[in-house]
Symmetry: D2
Subunit: 84 residues, 4 copies
């Protein structure tokens, strides 16, 4: 399993993470809102931390105890929501 | 007073309006969230209507009974929040 | 088909509508965000208009040309998202 | 300086933190959206982490290197946004 562009495996492969930096809080939170909409649609939710223009995302499948295909798909979907 | 790019005067100059079309609902609502954040910051709120990927925005200053400089500024700020 | 609590049929039964009033813009937009999350989850989207603390919602099934069971369900789900 | 209801001082008093649990992701993210709107209005932003129905909030004034009156006010405002 390869990590999608910009993502890294962490915790011995148990999670997929990416750190993002935006122009300001508004751009960061607009992005998070789109991630939230997607997460509800596919019923798979990321862990995220926000401080002003920074967003750290962490993906794992709690029921499987590690990274699954659902996380890989979610990581790719999140990439597609990044502003130009 | 000139209308900012993409905006038109309506109701005999009493309101400034713009119709926008996005890729899908997610892009439309991500944009609306950023408009909402801006509106709270400047304490001047637009009227908006959303149907899936379409957003219609209408700006007026209720206390002044028409378009004021605050609406012109808000229209320009909204333009700056449009995705790429 | 009965209209759920607070909703009315309009346009000769072609749409289901409800007008809502909140404490302020923040409460109105927090509600709209939850409606948006639900809409993406069930892939059925309302039309809504917001002016500060007011939200007007209109439901119809475009493909069916009128109100269907999906609109009734969406109306009930929206009711359940109203703040206490 | 007393910590507002539900908040604790951490890092030797350098930050104010609160852990919150909601009914589901939708209720958690609706709350976060309202926190975001407030943060833009007062131009003071929290650090927050979300995993499904859990939200951890951390407040500090980076320029002052610790908790200031702005954080106390923000903590109280966040309390007022909690769902009934």
């Amino acid at each position: 399993m390869d990590a999608p562009d910009g993502w890294s495996f962490e915790d011995g492969g148990k999670a997929l993470t990416r750190s993002l930096k935006f122009k300001d809080f508004s751009e960061a939170f607009g992005f998070l809102t789109r991630v939230a909409l997607h997460a509800e649609r596919v019923d798979h939710h990321p862990e995220f931390t926000n401080v002003w223009n920074r967003v750290d995302v962490r993906l794992t499948s709690h029921d499987a105890g590690g990274v699954t295909d659902r996380d890989i798909k979610l990581a790719k979907a999140i990439n597609s929501l990044l502003p130009g």
